[in-house]
């Protein structure tokens, strides 16, 4: 279904699975019914590409992170913008905490401001939304290079903030005081996305270094590694089956240099335990062919 004119940046199902939220670089996130693919509505108001969105547990409020340096809170049902949180740089990621009473955002550096992680309160009982963040974590330059966060997620029970960076690192922060709790070098290149499974016991990272890794969320140990021959853009853990879905693609630039293989739009299925690829779905303006 075509709802956006620009590349899609993020899609997310709500907790119950009946709604699909999509956002792209075209400034307007949409929400669709998953039963029939019909669009429910759009959220107008952003002035920049939407980089990330997150729906709360009750599917009543939606958070969107945009390149216009704001994060907006919306009422899911009628598209009304409830609040706008202003940041100092393009907002790259947003994530509701468990309980949907607070959320965290990551923003890119902009001019003299460093990249930041911010935690905001978003009371659901009708009390006014505070303007500023409850906690602000500064991400200073590493030497002379800027290392930017690409993804943020809360761990189960809001114990820590997991932040993935574009140099392949994952860092854990304490959300009460902003201290760095732990860090691991997960990948050699940029981590494109980090997603938890439903119970938040495992998470999967997808990276530009052609691999995707499955981690234990408690002790941060790499359990499995899924190798592909293309940069992995996104990965999800299937709930009902022991499968991993990877979304990836070949960059436009490398098509001119590689002779045989052409970049294809495909989703790959891996078995969670055996790390074997058992299927792929190729899709392209037309019928979808499953192949094994």
């Amino acid at each position: 279904m075509q709802g956006h004119e620009r590349p899609i940046t993020v899609i997310q199902y709500n907790y119950d699975g009946d709604l699909l939220f999509t956002a792209s670089k075209d400034l307007v996130p949409s929400v669709w019914w998953t039963e029939n693919g019909e669009r429910l509505g759009t959220y107008e108001g952003h002035k920049g590409a939407i980089w990330d969105l997150d729906c709360d547990r009750q599917s009543t409020r939606l958070l969107t992170a945009s390149a216009d340096a704001t994060c907006k809170l919306w009422a899911v049902q009628n598209g009304e913008c409830l609040h706008t949180y202003v940041h100092r740089g393009p907002v790259r990621g947003v994530s509701w905490a468990t309980g949907s009473k607070m959320f965290a955002t990551i923003s890119d550096p902009f001019v003299e401001h460093n990249a930041k992680i911010m935690v905001f309160d978003a009371p659901s009982d009708g009390s006014p939304y505070p303007e500023g963040p409850r906690l602000e974590i500064d991400i200073p330059k590493v030497g002379t290079k800027r290392v930017n966060p690409t993804n943020i997620q809360w761990t189960a029970f809001n114990e820590a903030l997991l932040v993935a960076y574009d140099n392949g690192m994952i860092k854990l922060y304490d959300p009460s005081n902003g201290d760095l709790v732990d860090e691991i070098m997960a990948h050699e290149k940029k981590i494109n996305r980090l997603q938890f499974n439903r119970e938040k016991t495992l998470f999967i990272t997808s990276s530009a270094d052609f691999t995707s890794k499955l981690y234990d969320a408690v002790d941060l140990k790499a359990l499995k590694e899924y190798k592909t021959d293309r940069p992995v853009n996104d990965a999800v853990i299937s709930e009902h089956k022991d499968h991993i879905l990877l979304g990836g693609g070949q960059e436009a630039m490398s098509v001119t240099t590689t002779s045989g293989k052409v970049g294809k739009f495909e989703t790959r299925f891996f078995h969670l335990v055996y790390e074997e690829e058992f299927g792929c779905v190729k899709g392209h303006f037309g019928p979808i062919n499953a192949c094994t």
Partner: protein, 90 residues
């Protein structure tokens, strides 16, 4: 056409380094010509009910995929150790 693609992506890459998204929009409008064989599948999400999944791509399309019955019924291979245990119990 191939050259065009190359140029498009190069511009993108440079712009990302500058961290200025407004510029990125302009580049896309001037140079972008969607080429079917270079689609990037940028994001995937699986429905919590396990029956369908969605993928979003560079071309702005979001594709909803429904799993076949054969996929849903598909049994994953079980390691031999479990089978031996079952036999022992019987």
């Amino acid at each position: 056409m191939c050259q065009g693609t190359f140029w498009t992506y190069q511009c993108l890459y440079v712009v990302l380094l500058c961290c200025c998204d407004l510029f990125l929009v302009i580049v896309f409008q001037f140079v972008c010509s969607p080429l079917s064989y270079t689609l990037l599948n940028i994001t995937v999400a699986i429905n919590p009910n396990g029956r369908n999944y969605a993928s979003g791509a560079e071309d702005g399309y979001v594709r909803l995929h429904k799993f076949d019955k054969s996929y849903l019924d598909m049994k994953d291979p079980v390691p031999e150790a479990d089978e031996e245990e079952k036999v022992a119990e019987e």
